[in-house]
């Protein structure tokens, strides 16, 4: 027992969480006693005796679990654990439940954790659609309904879409650039372990008196500043998710900039690497804004500051400015890594170099720059300064240009290729082009102020966001998971089940989200538990399609779980792809490369006679003088 407490791990972690929470609780009670206040504050929003342990408890867990062991020992002058790589690699499934510094293990930890939250959030979506199947009240009351859609959105955004991309990139990106690991492996592990804490805080808010947070994922003040305790769970969960996201982004930036294999110039990086470079630039600069916004709300609630309390001289609209200054770039944080995945998948399965590779990379950078100048298009009816609307409209519409470049370049990549559609990854990539175009088109319409005034906060918005986030991001996530499944697990998945999942998902997505455009324009507001009976039939259809869509995801789950266990063994390079991760075995050796790869050409040299992207150092010297990386445009 004593040994178990000394060892980093779950027992010490649980103990740390308990001690941390107890410390926070005692601190609040003692300070309040010392100030002559009643020990407990049961005022609706305050509850410092709960809020402070919500910070100290998770931190105690991280300490106990071993996330800080190395740094603390080093800082205290104690002997650090020798680098025996005991925290590297996974021999059994148990190793995935330990503090592990191997980027491949962390990548899989990320993906499995985020998909757990995807299914929890998806279950909430099913409940939402069950309630909305008919007008009137079906299964939940209005307050629970508000909690359900708020938690659904928060789980999907903060602990599924954003981090699952970090997970895929965690696994693939170091391999792709020929690096043995991420630049900061311990920070990488810490980033991961903050994530389940964020998810548990979001879900745990259902246990709070007054129910889970119910002000939407946007948490607009002053609805959020006056909401019951559950809102504080949201404020704090975002801090853990945000810190995780920022640390990972820093890690990616340093890894990409400093750890590329010899010969991999910026213009030889695969587009997935470019995409994660762009995303990380967005994350490090934008995420602090949502962290700040949620701290300000928390302070308004617990410390009675007046950032957004109009009665105390605060400004209500400024919350939205700060929130969207993160949350609009966040849309691209949720999309750019997907663009990278699509580029890899399409080029590989069309057996063609990416059409206009440099323009593709520059389009990513263009999106990064523009995305900081469009946030107020979420606020055209919010009562901000009127003059701000037109410039924001113009930048918003202009961002369609680099996005259009990407769509047309993927299409161009298909031409004169040899398109293989046997892989489910390719099917999702091709369907993504069409569904994302629809989401982009409705986005352009929303960017136009007069149209936005009419459809803002209606089901048109719900349709748009799900077309870009589900038909867009989630399709790219599926493409990525199928594409690298053989590399990650060393097994092949079942393509027949993959195709069932694909067609079901495409039909379910269109059936669910296309009709929402219409009912929104026709007068159905969003975030309502009840609606006018004229929309009843459409909503019934939408709900049926949503249940079908949900059921199809179980096929995916079954396919992944069973194939991981029993699938046929995968070769090193089942897709005959060119990038470096396919040069090593599936799954890769524990330190990725037994010898350092050398990059001798562009990443997509399909059809170029004799061209290679990378060679292993030991391989013959006959490719000593590589050809110029990029062939001449035709």
């Amino acid at each position: 027992m004593v040994a178990a407490i000394k060892q980093p791990g779950w027992i010490r972690g649980a103990l740390g969480a308990l001690l941390g929470a107890a410390f926070g609780f005692a601190l609040v009670v003692a300070l309040r006693k010392a100030s002559g206040l009643p020990a407990f504050q049961s005022e609706q929003t305050g509850y410092p005796q709960v809020v402070v342990p919500l910070v100290t408890g998770p931190l105690g867990f991280l300490l106990g679990f071993g996330c800080f062991d190395y740094w603390l020992r080093w800082a205290a002058g104690m002997p650090t654990i020798p680098e025996d790589h005991s925290q590297h690699g996974a021999k059994s499934w148990r190793d995935y439940f330990r503090f592990n510094t191997d980027h491949k293990v962390i990548g899989i930890q990320y993906i499995c954790t985020t998909f757990f939250f995807f299914f929890v959030g998806g279950l909430m979506a099913m409940l939402i659609r069950a309630e909305l199947a008919r007008p009137g009240t079906q299964i939940v009351d209005a307050a629970t309904f508000n909690s359900l859609f708020s938690t659904h959105a928060v789980l999907m955004i903060f602990v599924f879409v954003i981090p699952v991309f970090a997970g895929i990139a965690n696994y693939v990106l170091p391999l792709m650039i020929g690096a043995p690991d991420m630049a900061f492996p311990r920070l990488n592990a810490l980033s991961f372990w903050m994530l389940p804490l964020a998810g548990l805080l979001f879900i745990g808010s259902f246990l709070a008196p007054g129910g889970a947070f119910d002000a939407g994922w946007t948490g607009y003040a002053p609805l959020s500043t006056g909401a019951p305790l559950g809102q504080s769970f949201f404020n704090l969960g975002v801090q853990f998710a945000g810190a995780s996201s920022i640390a990972t982004a820093l890690n990616f930036l340093v890894t990409i900039i400093t750890m590329r294999a010899p010969g991999m110039t910026f213009w030889r990086m695969p587009l997935l690497v470019w995409a994660n470079l762009s995303t990380s630039l967005l994350v490090v600069a934008a995420t602090p804004f949502i962290a700040g916004a949620q701290f300000m709300v928390l302070f308004d609630r617990a410390l009675h500051t007046n950032f957004f309390q109009f009665a105390g001289g605060g400004d209500v609209v400024s919350y939205q400015h700060i929130f969207w200054f993160y949350s609009h770039p966040a849309v691209y944080i949720m999309m750019l890594p997907g663009f990278g995945i699509i580029s890899e998948v399409i080029s590989t399965h069309a057996r063609k170099p990416i059409f206009g590779y440099r323009l593709m990379a520059l389009a990513l950078i263009g999106i990064v720059v523009l995305s900081y100048s469009v946030w107020a298009h979420h606020m055209f009816v919010a009562g901000m300064f009127s003059w701000l609307r037109v410039p924001m409209m113009i930048t918003t519409l202009l961002i369609a240009v680099p996005t259009g470049i990407k769509i047309f370049s993927w299409l161009g990549t298909l031409y004169f290729g040899k398109i293989h559609t046997y892989s489910t990854a390719m099917l999702f990539a091709l369907a993504f082009i069409v569904t994302f175009t629809i989401g982009g088109i409705s986005g352009v319409m929303l960017g136009m102020v007069p149209i936005d005034i009419h459809v803002s906060d209606t089901y048109f918005i719900v349709a748009h966001i799900h077309f870009v986030l589900f038909g867009g991001s989630v399709f790219t996530i599926f493409a990525g998971i199928y594409h690298w499944f053989p590399k990650m697990t060393g097994r092949m998945y079942d393509e027949r089940l993959g195709r069932i999942h694909f067609w079901g998902t495409v039909i379910g997505t269109w059936g669910t989200f296309i009709p929402m455009h219409w009912i929104g324009m026709d007068g159905m507001p969003r975030r309502v538990a009840d609606y006018a009976s004229q929309f009843g039939d459409w909503n019934l259809l939408i709900s049926c399609c949503a249940f079908f869509l949900g059921a199809c995801q179980l096929v995916f789950l079954y396919n992944m779980v069973v194939s991981w266990r029993f699938g046929p063994k995968a070769e090193a390079n089942p897709w005959r792809a060119k990038s470096i991760e396919w040069l090593v075995s599936s799954p890769p050796p524990i330190f990725n490369f037994d010898e350092i790869p050398r990059v001798v050409g562009g990443p997509y040299e399909f059809g170029v006679p004799g061209a290679r992207h990378a060679i292993m150092a030991g391989e013959g010297a006959e490719v000593e003088a590589p050809e110029p990386a990029t062939a001449v445009s035709t």
């Binding site: 063609k352 082009i433 102020v449 507001p525 009840d530």
Partner: protein
């Protein structure tokens, strides 16, 4: 490279598909009844965008399915495609043409925005008060009378709604008018509308405001000026003192609507 593709046929297919989609989509009455002078302008903009969007969508679909039909690998074919890395003229084209389309859209939208927010000299001011979960309305030109849950306005006269909120953010939406504006605590916001159809409509709250959000509705009646005067004079209540005081504390973010030359 381009010479080897049936560009004219693909373009014709795109145009045909655009025409087919547009014909169906434009004929559908997406936004419902039009009941203000702004409504036809917004709907025209929407229809123009539907046609342009149909073109973009058709172009993507035609390009995709032609490629899938023409360049699909034969079973067992393990060879690579042609090593084409790009085409500068094409890349410039699909950067510039979308830029022109969206800038056209922005200019058109701006013009529509200026038109629908153009303030009139004889506009009537109506105060909109919102509180979880009810609407009430003050008529300063009619002795500060006050109605709850029912808004009456005269037809064919511009109304400038001054929006107020007593607690959280609400949003004022009458779909038939195509007008929406948030009611923000601490700020007076303005919405301009000229109703041009008699009838009864619904005012819907579109900003999440709590558990009663879905049921926060009010009735809107557009009537002839004489009927309106009769109705408003028959109101017994006046705007409560607390509401009047809260208006005075408000700041007004956009006293001059954008169309008045401010932007």
């Amino acid at each position: 490279m381009m010479g080897r593709l049936p560009i004219a046929k693909m373009f014709a297919a795109t145009l045909a598909m655009t025409a087919a989609i547009s014909a169906v989509m434009v004929s559908i009455d997406w936004d419902g009844q039009q009941a203000s002078t702004a409504a036809p302008k917004v709907d025209d903009l929407l229809n123009v965008m539907i046609v342009l969007s149909s073109f973009v969508f058709s172009l993507v679909v035609v390009m995709l399915f032609y490629a899938l039909w023409k360049f699909r690998a034969k079973p067992g074919d393990e060879s690579d495609g042609e090593p084409i890395h790009g085409n500068t003229r094409l890349e410039v084209a699909w950067t510039l043409i979308p830029t022109i389309i969206v800038l056209f859209g922005a200019g058109y939208s701006w013009a529509v925005l200026n038109e629908i927010e153009e303030p009139a000299d004889n506009a009537m001011i109506v105060d909109v008060f919102s509180q979880q979960y009810a609407w009430s309305f003050g008529y300063p030109e009619n002795g500060g009378r006050w109605s709850q849950g029912e808004l009456h306005v005269p037809i064919n006269r511009q109304i400038q709604f001054k929006m107020h909120s007593q607690d959280v953010i609400h949003s004022f939406w009458v779909p038939e008018w195509r007008i929406k504006k948030d009611n923000v605590p601490g700020i007076t916001t303005t919405a301009i509308v000229t109703p041009d159809r008699l009838g009864t409509f619904q005012l819907i709250c579109t900003e999440l405001c709590g558990f009663g959000h879905a049921s926060m509705r009010a009735t809107v009646v557009v009537e002839k000026p004489a009927d309106f005067l009769k109705w408003v004079d028959g109101l017994k209540e006046h705007v409560p003192q607390s509401y009047k005081e809260s208006i005075l504390q408000d700041t007004e973010t956009n006293p001059i609507p954008v169309g008045a030359g401010g932007a």
